[in-house]
């Protein structure tokens, strides 16, 4: 007995997430908890598992789609009479299957038009990686199409990244993608099979191999300009006038616009291939150019700083665009694309930096006694083989949690309207962690309720996870306050950026032995520099000074936390 069940997106921790990988194919038999798709939020990537075992019947999403909790990913035919009860959300990372080279069939929904062209005599060609220079084993960094997609000739299919440049492998002919043979992260060389394409209305006379290998790859100069990114920005739901974007699809020479419209577009530096025409037969009208300009001026930019030279102003701010400098003039250069985390966190940092009025309060804490105590405890822990090492950070977390209790304004967020404060009754603290891919901020929950040992253990686990890129979205949500410690590296002070929706962040620099006046003479004390950045809309300077003094005091004498 079989029954069709919908595969529904579970709680993915808030906002919409992007599908970055399809882990199954239609027709594939899957076990319960097998990953269906991998999604990525602005914080982490995670796999979405299916509830029970069965066979995948349809998939409604493709790589690059944005999905929300409750969306239907597709349907599967359950092999059990009754669905297996939902297990706790436990992504089965290890079980993630490698997609097979050939996919059995195209997804169900085919538009009548496509069906019509398909019936007119079709042929199937294998699209292979064309001559890509000397590069072998080039990594696929982006899949621009999914199975069942209809493509035009020259449309990008996959993006390859060599040590020199990123390039798109274009479709040799128009048609429908039957199956994908590769996925993101695969290494390919010239001649590697990319996908199978069903060419519509093709003449049989054309030899397959010839047509498949013909087109040169189009080299994309800047990663930021790759079609996928353009599509991202086009799909982003704008809080602004309707966006007449043609979806980043560049169809050079096929723009349908009269001379007067072309002149207008030139005046505003609008690339007409990016404007969707509202007129008959998609003709671009003057109004389309105008609303495109309005939209471009008001929409949030992916990375306004580096989009200089593309005609945009500085991300909605009335500032000059960055000058377009040809650095190669001054010496040898190399262009390295931003990591995924950098690309994702950049706009957030930029938003926080320009929208939050930051003030940074500097202070220092006498941690001479604390350090003595900590080293004693570590020595004991080692003797007892507890496998835990206490770091100064744990004490800072405790001290901060105590200060948050004392000064609840620091444990708040501005409401969406900006007219109220959301006061939090929990004490979760985010810890900025440096990883090879970029900065992430995992969160330790209920710091006020946990002991030093417990937090130490948790911290160790978290940092292992973070450096391995294994953090889940949930691990990085719900922070009240963030600590960014550079103490292990050096520095005397810095001005951290508030990690909104937090209203404050504590920066910690390297502790140093300093002469301190004890009333009679100078005494060597180990001083820890603290840099407290806060949102001045929520927190007054005096309050911040008190908060800093409180943290400092707690660190100087841990007994104060007990008071």
């Amino acid at each position: 007995m079989t029954n069709l069940i919908d595969i529904i997106v579970p709680d993915v921790g808030g906002d919409e997430v992007e599908v970055i990988e399809l882990c199954v194919e239609i027709g594939e038999a899957v076990d319960a908890e097998a990953s269906i798709v991998t999604v990525e939020s602005d914080k982490a990537s995670m796999d979405i598992p299916c509830e029970g075992a069965g066979t995948i019947k349809s998939l409604n999403v493709k790589v690059g789609d944005k999905i929300n909790q409750g969306d239907i990913l597709g349907q599967m035919e359950s092999s059990a009479a009754t669905p297996v009860p939902e297990a706790e959300l436990a992504p089965a990372e290890a079980e993630q299957e490698t997609p097979k080279a050939a996919a059995p069939e195209a997804p169900a929904p085919v538009s009548p038009k496509e069906a019509a062209t398909a019936s007119q005599g079709t042929k199937t060609i294998e699209v292979k990686v064309p001559d890509i220079g000397d590069a072998n084993d080039v990594e696929i960094i982006e899949m621009l199409v999914a199975e069942g997609d209809t493509v035009e000739p020259e449309d990008g299919l996959i993006t390859l990244e060599t040590d020199k440049a990123t390039m798109d492998v274009p479709a040799p002919e128009g048609g429908k993608i039957i199956s994908l043979a590769v996925k993101v992260g695969d290494k390919v060389s010239e001649g590697s099979l990319v996908l199978t394409l069903e060419v519509s209305g093709a003449s049989d006379a054309e030899p397959t191999a010839q047509s498949a290998a013909a087109p040169e790859p189009t080299v994309v100069a800047e990663a930021a300009e790759s079609p996928a990114v353009q599509q991202d920005t086009a799909r982003k739901a704008p809080p602004v006038p309707h966006h007449p974007s043609a979806g980043g699809k560049s169809s050079t020479g096929k723009v349908h616009a009269s001379p007067s419209v072309r002149r207008l577009a030139r005046e505003f530096g609008v690339d007409l291939t990016l404007v969707k025409g509202s007129g008959r037969k998609n003709r671009v009208q003057k109004e389309d150019v105008q609303s495109h300009v309005k939209y471009e001026l008001s929409r949030p930019k992916m990375n306004p700083g580096s989009s200089a030279g593309t005609g945009s102003t500085g991300g909605g701010l009335q500032v000059l665009a960055q000058p377009n400098v040809d650095f190669a003039k001054f010496g040898e250069v190399e262009e390295v694309p931003l990591t995924r985390i950098q690309k994702l966190s950049g706009p957030n940092l930029h938003r926080n930096w320009v929208t939050i009025p930051h003030v940074t309060q500097f202070d220092e804490a006498d941690i001479t006694d604390l350090e003595t105590f900590r080293k004693e405890q570590n020595a004991i822990a080692e003797k007892r083989k507890l496998g835990v090492k206490i770091t100064p950070l744990v004490f800072m977390m405790k001290a901060v949690a105590d200060a948050l209790k004392q000064y609840p304004a620091f444990n708040s967020s501005l409401s969406a309207s900006g007219e109220a404060l959301v006061m939090k009754k929990y004490f979760h603290i985010g810890i900025a962690v440096e990883t090879p891919n970029g900065l992430v901020v995992p969160v330790v929950r209920d710091v006020d309720k946990k002991g030093i040992m417990e937090i130490s253990k948790e911290l160790m686990e978290i940092s292992v996870k973070a450096r391995g890129g294994k953090l889940k979205s949930a691990d990085m949500q719900g922070s009240c306050f963030t600590i960014s410690s550079l103490g292990g590296i050096g520095g005397t002070a810095f001005t951290p950026i508030v990690n909104a929706p937090d209203v404050a962040i504590l920066g910690v620099s390297k502790s140093e032995m300093k002469p301190k006046w004890n009333g009679k003479d100078f005494e060597p004390r180990l001083m820890l520099p603290l840099s407290l950045s806060y949102d001045h809309r929520v927190i007054d300077g005096a309050l911040a000074a008190r908060f800093a003094v409180h943290v400092s005091g707690a660190l100087s004498d841990l007994r104060r936390i007990l008071l």
Binding site: K254, H256, A257, S258, P259, R262, R266, E267, K281
Partner: protein, 472 residues
């Protein structure tokens, strides 16, 4: 020596130059125009487009009167008063140049007559009849045009003429060789043939009007076969001037074995740009080896305050291209963010019959790998063409196969040049075959053939057998 200080100097008063100057003046820019001639209008008005059209009009009426005898109306043999014909031609030129002069005064565009050369990026020296004038300018537009190419191996002889000489019409030669099968040579050949000269045309390539499509030129060859003798893939290797005529030696596919005597040789092998004649390098402007000046889409040269337009910035060397470029240059100087951004530029040979094309030719479409389909409406199927005794004609439209978008068109036949406008507009507006087919064209007109050609592509033609009928 006088001195002038101005915001803009335009060097060359052809259609491009005066259009640029007038546009600039209308945009509030203080403008001076410099030209060697006393009159404005350049080659086009004085010794090009316009006077040749006056003579072609005469030729056309002569031919039509002759043809009418076949329909029962017979005139006597025409007699020619060359002075009067020339006088009429001159009066046409006069009327137009006077008009220009009036418009120039109205716009307060100062005309300095003389040969202008740059002396620096902001100075120009004009050597005129009444001495030197130094012009200091903020911006300059170089619109010095082009001149006929002369062949070094041809002796200097008053019987060897170029287009300018042909337009002077000193006499009607008995036998004239037209050296070069391009538009200019064929137009002048048409005029002299109508006035009674025997015309022979020699062309180095395998086709007259090499830029046009083969099927169009084939039809043209058919219509001129009783008028001109043509020698294709043949070149002139020597011209010897003797008392009784010019003896021309040929080489190539259709070359006569012996030198042939002609009363006149019209050299019409092309035009060369005048970019190197204005000392542009003194202003820092780069001129190519061939005399062209490179510009960007705003008509700006490598020197930011100096612009160039017209024949000397590149092919096609056509007045209407220069006019539009002139407007763009003037508007850019006035601070507008305009660009020269046409989809197509029409070409017309005002021969009998006229040959006209715009947008892509089939040749170009093939070269560019465009997937196109041609739809040709033969005028033999047009009621108006038959009634006007103008069945020697074709209207051909090229459509992009996928979209049905019009990408080019060519017409041969009476008034082809006039009809071309619709095709150019349709290309600029991005019209497709359906748009053109659904536009109601007046009946009976020759212009109708454009709508009918679109119907052929659409498969909705009823004035002819419909090859697509069964598939519909």
């Amino acid at each position: 020596m006088s001195e002038i200080k101005t915001q803009l100097v335009v060097l060359g008063a052809g259609p491009g130059g005066y259009s640029a100057a007038f546009r600039a003046a209308d945009l509030g820019i203080d403008t001076v125009i410099v030209d060697v001639r006393e009159t404005l209008g350049g080659v086009c008005l004085n010794v090009g487009c316009i006077p040749s059209k006056a003579l072609l009009h005469v030729a056309k009426v002569i031919q039509e009167a002759k043809h009418l005898s076949a329909h029962g109306v017979t005139f006597g043999e025409p007699t020619f008063d060359l002075d009067k014909i020339r006088g009429w031609k001159d009066s046409v030129v006069d009327q137009l140049t006077k008009g220009l002069s009036g418009m120039s005064k109205m716009r307060k565009v100062k005309h300095v007559q003389g040969y202008g050369k740059f002396t620096g990026p902001n100075t120009l020296e004009v050597e005129g009849k009444d001495g030197k004038t130094t012009i200091t300018f903020d911006n300059a537009i170089i619109s010095a045009g082009s001149e006929p190419v002369s062949l070094p191996f041809i002796p200097e002889d008053e019987r060897v003429i170029d287009s300018t000489g042909a337009l002077e019409m000193r006499d009607i030669p008995g036998k004239m060789l037209v050296l070069g099968g391009g538009i200019i040579g064929l137009e002048m050949g048409t005029v002299y043939h109508a006035l009674g000269s025997k015309i022979e045309v020699v062309e180095f390539l395998d086709q007259l009007m090499p830029a046009a499509d083969k099927d169009i030129v084939k039809m043209y060859m058919k219509t001129i076969k009783n008028k001109f003798t043509t020698m294709l893939e043949t070149k002139v290797v020597g011209v010897e001037a003797k008392d009784d005529g010019l003896y021309v030696t040929f080489e190539g596919k259709q070359a006569p074995a012996e030198p042939v005597r002609y009363d006149r040789v019209l050299v019409a092998v092309g035009r060369k740009p005048n970019g190197s004649l204005v000392a542009a390098e003194k202003a820092g402007v780069t001129v190519t080896d061939r005399g062209f000046i490179d510009v960007d889409k705003q008509m700006r040269t490598n020197v930011s305050n100096i612009f160039a337009i017209g024949d000397l910035v590149g092919q096609p060397m056509l007045a209407h291209k220069a006019v539009h470029e002139g407007h763009v240059a003037a508007e850019v100087i006035a601070g507008k963010k305009h660009y020269f951004d046409p989809k197509c530029i029409p070409s017309v040979a005002y021969t009998e019959p006229e040959v006209a094309w715009v947008g892509l030719t089939e040749k170009e479409a093939k070269e560019q790998g465009v997937d196109y389909e041609a739809a040709t409406f033969p005028w033999a199927a047009s009621g108006r063409a038959i009634a006007s005794a103008a069945t020697d004609g074709l209207t051909k439209l090229l459509f992009e196969k996928d979209s049905g978008r019009l990408i080019g068109g060519a017409i041969i036949g009476t008034n082809a040049g006039e009809m071309l406008g619709e095709i150019g507009l349709a290309i600029e507006m991005g019209a497709d075959a359906e748009d053109i087919a659904l536009t109601i064209h007046a009946h009976p007109t020759l212009n109708e053939s454009i709508g009918l050609a679109a119907e052929i592509f659409e498969g909705s033609i009823t004035d002819m057998p419909n090859p697509k009928a069964k598939k519909k």
